[in-house]
Symmetry: C2
Subunit: 435 residues, 2 copies
Amino acid sequence: MRITKSSKIIGIGILGLGTVGSGVVTLLRRQAAAIERKTGIRLVLKKVCVKSLTKKRAVKIPQRLLTTHVQDLLKDRSIDIFVELVGGIQPAKKIMAQAFQNGKHVVTANKALLAEKGNFIFGLARKHSKKLGIEASVCGGIPIIKAIKEGLASNTISHFLGIVNGTCNFILTRMSDQAIPFEEALRQAQQKGYAEKNPALDIRGIDSAHKLAILARMAFGAEVRFDSIPVEGIESLAVADIEYAKELGYSIKLLAIGKRHQQGLELRVHPTMLPLDHPLSNVRGVYNAVFLHADQAGNLLFYGKGAGKFPTASAVMSDIIDIAKRISGEVDLKAPVVSVPGKLKIYPIENMRSKYYLRFQVADRPGVLGRIAQALGKNHISILSVHQKESHDPRSVPVIILTYEAQEKNLRRALKAIDSGNFVSRKTVVIRVEK
Amino acid sequence: MRITKSSKIIGIGILGLGTVGSGVVTLLRRQAAAIERKTGIRLVLKKVCVKSLTKKRAVKIPQRLLTTHVQDLLKDRSIDIFVELVGGIQPAKKIMAQAFQNGKHVVTANKALLAEKGNFIFGLARKHSKKLGIEASVCGGIPIIKAIKEGLASNTISHFLGIVNGTCNFILTRMSDQAIPFEEALRQAQQKGYAEKNPALDIRGIDSAHKLAILARMAFGAEVRFDSIPVEGIESLAVADIEYAKELGYSIKLLAIGKRHQQGLELRVHPTMLPLDHPLSNVRGVYNAVFLHADQAGNLLFYGKGAGKFPTASAVMSDIIDIAKRISGEVDLKAPVVSVPGKLKIYPIENMRSKYYLRFQVADRPGVLGRIAQALGKNHISILSVHQKESHDPRSVPVIILTYEAQEKNLRRALKAIDSGNFVSRKTVVIRVEK
């Protein structure tokens, strides 16, 4: 069916082999063959710039691919996409400028640079007509930049609220769940590796403000002066306030807020009380989420892991694949790749396994429960709990049974036996239970 | 800054001018100029095929653009993108095949056709190397297809759970909230226009199974035989079961479930019990949501409006713009469009308005509350509620006040006065409240 052509080679250079960098190298290696099969594009890792050639790495990488000189990447004409993963303003800014000048497309996770020097960086991409992939800079594994720029391309976004810092959300969740003070929750976050030894950027809201600046640029098409964003962190929040808020029907979240008004933009980062039934109130632990209102599509929520090696590497890879597809003319990619027919066959429902909720309507007389339990047991179905309900009709009393995981085939056999008994007054209700 | 080129013209033909069709025409007209400014692409509506030339329309459209002959679109070489919005298997299938044969890219919201004849339709797109945009076929305004295919391009999706039918979710939410039987909740859905007069496709789970087949194809890269998907609807659910489930800590949702196993795919649609703290349990009313697990990015949730004129039209437009960008070589679109600097200025925080939570720590003596209330009143801040808390220290009793919306400037002025008084024992805690 596919028109096979010789693969197009796209060269990748990576600056920085820390957590995210080694995640990207791992994914590139693991997925290159599948990506080539699906897209006709061969992604080739050409060079990785590191600080030290001898340091032990989380990922195996041939020595010949390593260099300590970023110029080896910038001047390598076989590198089409330059992936910047060192972070910080300088020297990243200077290096990125040179990458664009040298005709490379750029993918970056550098939120500080994009937030504080965004006009400069986006201006360079435009000036040199190169792609700039920034999905990894906001909310890690959630494809929120793509959703805003492409998925909602025909929408005007009026406002958004984002939980964009997992460290702070973890701390606030712990404070709320365990009624422990900020310092103790921060210690727990540090123990779990969710917070840096120096957590200032996170807990003071700076990291959230960086992401706010980038989201505002994407959602509102606006240049944002980073230092004009009012920022408050979570470090002075008391458990008492979290508990009073709960009593009043609210959660407290550190939010990045962006609103578009006739007169201008309202941008701010601060702890915020949200009604408990607001979708963001249920975002717990290190998870991130962005709630936004688009004029055509309405309210939307995007939820997922905002940080971590592979969620962030997944976002970098998405940008790399996107740019590679776009610059290589992209053959037939809008139609998804279909696996070899028959390879993934559909299970017959009889083979499926699930927990079950069963409602029996039975006559209220001795021995009935025993007969149900026996029929279930015979068919290898274990009972998790039994709940007998009051009823005004003694001929039809509801008995609710939750089962452990069982096979649908066995359940059907058991119910056939039970439902044919004279002690049930109607067909048993079956609802499958998901974790 | 921008390199201006003469705009590239992309011709659009639309089959069907019902709810979604007239939404698309409205958006095309309203947004064409902005899209051209941003992308250098001029989207031109060439022809719309309708059943009747004289019917009154929700959207004004010049008579010369209307035709009752679909061949007028299919044979029009100025039409690059053919938008199919009539639904159903035939004649849509035949027409779409001809559109591809005639060299057109296709955008469709036709979930029945994609689910039941997907191999044929996707095969055509591949054979003719044309784009096939299907975002509008699943979950209306949620850009879930783009997220799966592009945002998560480097992920293997192991399973997903979707609330993909707003009608059923509305009915289940009403049954749960108001303890009313299915028939009454269905009647309410029909009154609100959420359910058709003949609601069979929705309540029997067929519509959900259509979307499941499409999602499974996208998420697992699998050909799916629609008629092998086990389907149960919600029409036999009793309020009692919803209430028992709640007591046991579960909600009941109609889910489209897809799981990838070594041995094959597990696909099914049925009412399902979910723990109340599962993200999908909080999806209420006509909203849709898809929860999925991706091997790199982790758990993700996408939430939004799954149906309706403009949410669905927004998805159609996203596909049209995507395809238009791709087929016109796409100049500098990866960098977002930046509005005229200064046009969207950032508010100073003093001008912002919010509701506030205020925690005063005050001496427990008469008149203190009066002095606080007076200071707030003087600065135009109205009190919504006052909560006095017990304290073991009579010198420092917490008083919590929720305010109506007020201006930050006024709040700061009031707090300056209050915090300088000798009746407060510490600086007042301020948390802003979002709706």
